[in-house]
Symmetry: C2
DNA sequence: CATTTTTTGTAACAATTGGTACATAAATTA
DNA sequence: TAATTTATGTACCAATTGTTACAAAAAATG
C-alpha cells in the first residue's frame, strides 16, 4: 500500500517483479538448482539477462528469493496446521494438505524444499545446506507443537514429540518423491490414512 | 571366471574397469546426474577422458552402467527381503535394512535411485524417467509379495497390497531424504519402529 | 529544457560443459 | 620381426555455463 504510490525515479521496469519471481520459483521448483540455467530463466521470464541480474542479483541470490517466496507462499500450510486443536488433528491436517499440495495440477509436482538440491554439484552445496535447514525447521515446528500437546495431556506420556515430527516429515518427503514420480492425490491420501494408524491413541 | 583368463588383444587397460565404475557410481550417487561433471569424473577415477569414453561411452551411458551396478549391488537387499516368511517380516526387514543402508558411513548418504535425478535439467529428463521406473519396480516387487501374502492368508482380507507397498516405498524415499539431511541410523530405526505400528495385524 | 536516475538491449566475457582427433605406446598374433 | 589391435595422453573442439560493459532509452527532478 506504500510501494504502489511511490514515484520511481528512472526508467520504469517493463515487467512485474513478483510475477517474474513467481516464474523463477516454479522453474527452480521443477528443475532444481543445478537443473535450471540462466538461459532457461531469462527465456521463461521473458526478460533479458541484465534486467534479471539488476532486479534479483545472480543465480544464487535469485534462488534464495524464489525460495523465500515459496516458503511464505505455497508451503505456509505447515505453520497453519499447527494451530489445529489436537496433535492428531495436526498430523491429519499436515498429511492431507501435503497430499493435496504435492499433487496440485497448477504447479510442479513435489516440494521445492525437498527436491531442488537433494544431490547437487559442488558449487551448489550452499544451496543444498540451506534446504537441509529449511527441512529441519519445519520438522522442528511440528516437534514443538507435539511437545506442547504432550504437556497439554493431548498425547500419551510415552510419546516422543521429536519422533512423531520426524515420522511426519519423512512421510512428507517420501510423498514428495511419490508425487514427482506420478502418484495421484488419491493415492497419497490413502497413504496418509494408512500412516495415521501408527499415530498414538488420543487421550480423552 | 572366463573374463580373467582371456588373452586381450591390444595394449592392456591400465585401470580396473569395475573399480572405475564403482567410483563413478559413488560420484553420481552423491552428486546426482546434473551435479556430476565429466571433469570431476575423470579426476576421481584417475583416468583421462578418451579412456573413459572408450570404456563406458558418454555421460549418459556411463550413468546407466553405474545405475545397473548400483541396482545389482548395494540395493539388492530389496529382493532379498521379499524372501522373508511373513508380510510383516518383509516390512520390518525392508525398513531396517533401509535405515542401515541409507546411513552407511562407507558410501554416500541416501539412495541413488531416489536422489540422482529427482529434479533435473531438460537434457537429463531421460535419466529422471529411468529412475522413476526403477522406483516403481521395487515398489511393485513389494506389492506382489504382499499380494502373495494375502493369498497365503498372511494378511487380513481387507489389506491392500499396493497400498502397503506404497507405504513402505514412501517411507524409504523419505528416509533417503532424511539420511541426506543428516539423520542417523538410530533415528531412522526408531522411525521404522514407529511406522510399523501402522502395519495390519498378523493372522495366526 | 537539462540533469539525474534507472532500465533496457546488444554484445561480449572467461570458464566450464560434454565430447573427439590424432599420434604414440604397449600388448598379441602371425 | 612385422602386422595388428587396443589403450593412452595431449591438445583441441563447439556449445553452453554464469556474468558483465556499455550505450541507448525512458522516466522524474530541478
Amino acid at each position: 500500500m506504500s510501494t504502489e504510490l511511490k514515484k520511481p525515479r528512472g526508467r520504469p521496469r517493463v515487467f512485474d517483479k513478483e510475477e517474474a519471481l513467481e516464474k523463477a520459483m516454479k522453474l527452480f521448483w521443477a528443475r532444481g538448482y543445478d537443473g535450471t540455467s540462466m538461459a532457461e530463466l531469462i527465456e521463461t521470464l521473458g526478460i533479458n539477462k541484465p534486467s534479471l541480474y539488476a532486479a534479483f542479483g545472480n543465480k544464487e541470490e535469485l534462488f534464495h528469493k524464489a525460495l523465500l517466496k515459496y516458503a511464505s507462499g505455497p508451503v505456509a500450510f505447515v505453520s497453519e496446521v499447527t494451530k489445529e486443536p489436537t496433535a492428531r488433528k495436526v498430523a491429519e491436517g499436515f498429511l492431507v494438505k501435503a497430499a493435496e499440495f504435492l499433487t496440485n495440477p497448477q504447479s510442479p509436482k513435489g516440494c521445492m524444499i525437498v527436491q531442488a538440491a537433494l544431490s547437487a554439484s559442488e558449487n551448489a552445496e550452499m544451496i543444498r545446506n540451506v534446504l537441509i535447514k529449511y527441512r529441519g525447521s519445519y520438522e522442528n515446528l511440528l516437534a514443538e507443537r507435539f511437545a506442547k500437546a504432550k504437556k497439554d495431556g493431548d498425547l500419551p506420556t510415552d510419546a516422543n514429540p521429536k519422533d512423531l515430527a520426524k515420522f511426519l516429515a519423512t512421510l512428507h518427503q517420501g510423498m514428495s518423491v511419490q508425487a514427482t514420480s506420478g502418484a495421484t492425490k488419491q493415492e497419497l491420501l490413502q497413504l496418509a490414512n494408512l500412516a495415521l494408524k501408527a499415530w498414538p491413541e488420543e487421550i480423552k
